[in-house]
């Protein structure tokens, strides 16, 4: 079997084109925030009007008595251009084929054409993309790269944590205080937080995004207080918050954070954006260059909100 660098790049490109929809679907399904939240598309900046009135109704009198101070503003979500530059050297490929591939057997498959691209995509590229995009969606903080030097993955885009922190700093969002979470009072703290939502939103059905660790603490506190451990068959595996129409939604990417975010089910507000006319997820182009194969892709992202008035968070970061 003869394997060349040019052939490797060719087979990687053929795999990328043939399985584009499958690769994109894999990415979409595995990305916690992007699978759950609404995507929007724009050319550069997604701008949503942020208009509020203080109070508009008043008792009747014939004179015009102005009331209801209005605030006209907009929430602007600017796309960040992100890229992938991968290099597979001829030495790496030689080692792969001569040392490791001999141990592989795939009955009925054209090994020379397909195994390597599938391995690279399914075992290496896609899992790593998912891991980094998930993490960046929450904890990314954009920093312009030094020319000629690759920047950190976490510096490629501002994640929700940064967007929320900036909005709190700017007084765009006013948190509902929970104080620090305590494992033995989690249920009470979450219920009190739900009860402190403004009346129009208090009973809206929706999800409360929370880190997996705090979600587990909630379940265990619930179990200790009302569940099977208390002689009552009342499991709460779906992590509902009783009598509030809300359930906790554990997000692994939020690990280490004590932030909780209420996402009403019938209001599109917490969004992520991509560039209009461009591929939503990265599509890697493979090119041969000086005893190596280069993989390159560009894509766009922002993580943000449409209307600050619909964002409900707690005070912990």
């Amino acid at each position: 079997m003869s394997v060349t660098i040019a052939g490797t790049a060719d087979s990687l490109n053929r795999h990328a084109v043939t399985y584009k929809s499958t690769i994109q679907q894999d990415l979409r399904q595995e990305l916690e925030f992007e699978n759950f939240l609404n995507p929007v598309a724009c050319d550069n900046t997604y701008s949503a009007p942020n208009v509020t009135f203080s109070e508009v109704i008043q008792p009747y009198q014939w004179q015009f008595t102005q009331k209801g101070g209005s605030t006209f503003d907009a929430v602007e979500n600017k796309l960040q251009k992100i890229k992938i530059d991968i290099l597979l050297t001829g030495d790496d490929l030689e080692k792969f084929w001569d040392s490791w591939m001999v141990e592989w057997h795939e009955i009925g498959k054209d090994v020379g054409s397909w195994t390597f691209p599938r391995f690279i995509y399914n075992q290496a590229v896609i899992p790593k993309l998912i891991e980094e995009m998930n993490s960046n969606a929450w904890s990314g903080v954009y920093a312009a790269p030094t020319p000629g030097t690759p920047g950190a993955s976490s510096s490629s885009v501002n994640g929700y944590a940064k967007v929320i922190a900036d909005a709190v700093t700017n007084s765009d969002i006013t948190p509902i205080n929970t104080g620090a979470f305590v494992s033995t009072t989690m249920v009470d703290q979450i219920e009190t937080w739900c009860d402190a939502l403004p009346e129009p939103y208090r009973d809206l059905p929706g999800d409360i995004l929370i880190s997996s660790t705090h979600a587990r603490a909630y379940e265990r506190d619930y179990r200790a207080k009302f569940g099977p451990g208390n002689s009552v068959i009342n499991p709460n595996n779906e992590l509902r918050v009783d009598a509030t129409n809300k359930t906790l939604r554990p997000v692994a990417a939020m690990e280490g954070s004590s932030r909780i975010i209420f996402v009403p089910r019938n209001i599109q507000n917490m969004i992520w954006g991509t560039r209009r006319g461009y591929s939503t997820y990265p599509v890697i182009r493979w090119e041969v260059d000086e005893r190596s194969v280069k993989g390159m892709a560009e894509f766009y992202r922002f993580y943000g909100f449409e209307h600050w008035g619909h964002v409900f968070i707690n005070d912990q970061t």
Binding site: P175, I176, N177, G179
Partner: protein
């Protein structure tokens, strides 16, 4: 740092230096805001809260808010009813808790302030102190 051995001239010089630093900081904040940068604004006011811990320990603390916490949401406390979850300016709650008059501009923007009593304002701040809210310095 001022101490007992400073002369009045030295003290005045130290004050002038501090004033200059504050002016420079104010100018920097103003410039940053005009450029669209996000800046935490300081919160006017304080309140000395008294409460008892679940173990019966008496607590007393002067409560001030961190920069940027210029508004707060009314917490779920007994007797608050429809007010719960509404946004009110922090400085107005401090003013109410200390028995002072709330600024007209705050009432115009947040009409629900008129329904918050002195005792309720005190209860809000004390509650935040009890739970260790992040907005407290």
């Amino acid at each position: 740092m001022a101490n007992d051995k400073m002369t009045s001239e030295e003290l005045q010089k130290a004050i002038d230096e501090q004033k200059k630093i504050i002016q420079e900081q104010d100018a920097a904040i103003k410039k940053a805001k005009s450029n669209g940068q996000k800046v935490s604004e300081p919160v006017e006011g304080s309140y000395t809260a008294n409460w008892k811990t679940p173990t019966g320990e008496a607590m007393k603390k002067k409560i001030e808010f961190v920069n940027g916490a210029i508004n707060l949401r009314v917490p779920r406390l007994d007797g608050f009813g429809i007010q719960v979850g509404k946004i009110v300016p922090s400085r107005a709650v401090f003013a109410l808790a200390n028995g002072k008059k709330v600024k007209e501009e705050d009432i115009a923007t947040f009409p629900n302030l008129a329904d918050i009593s002195k005792e309720q304002a005190q209860a809000i701040i004390t509650y935040f102190a009890q739970i260790g809210a992040a907005c407290i310095k």
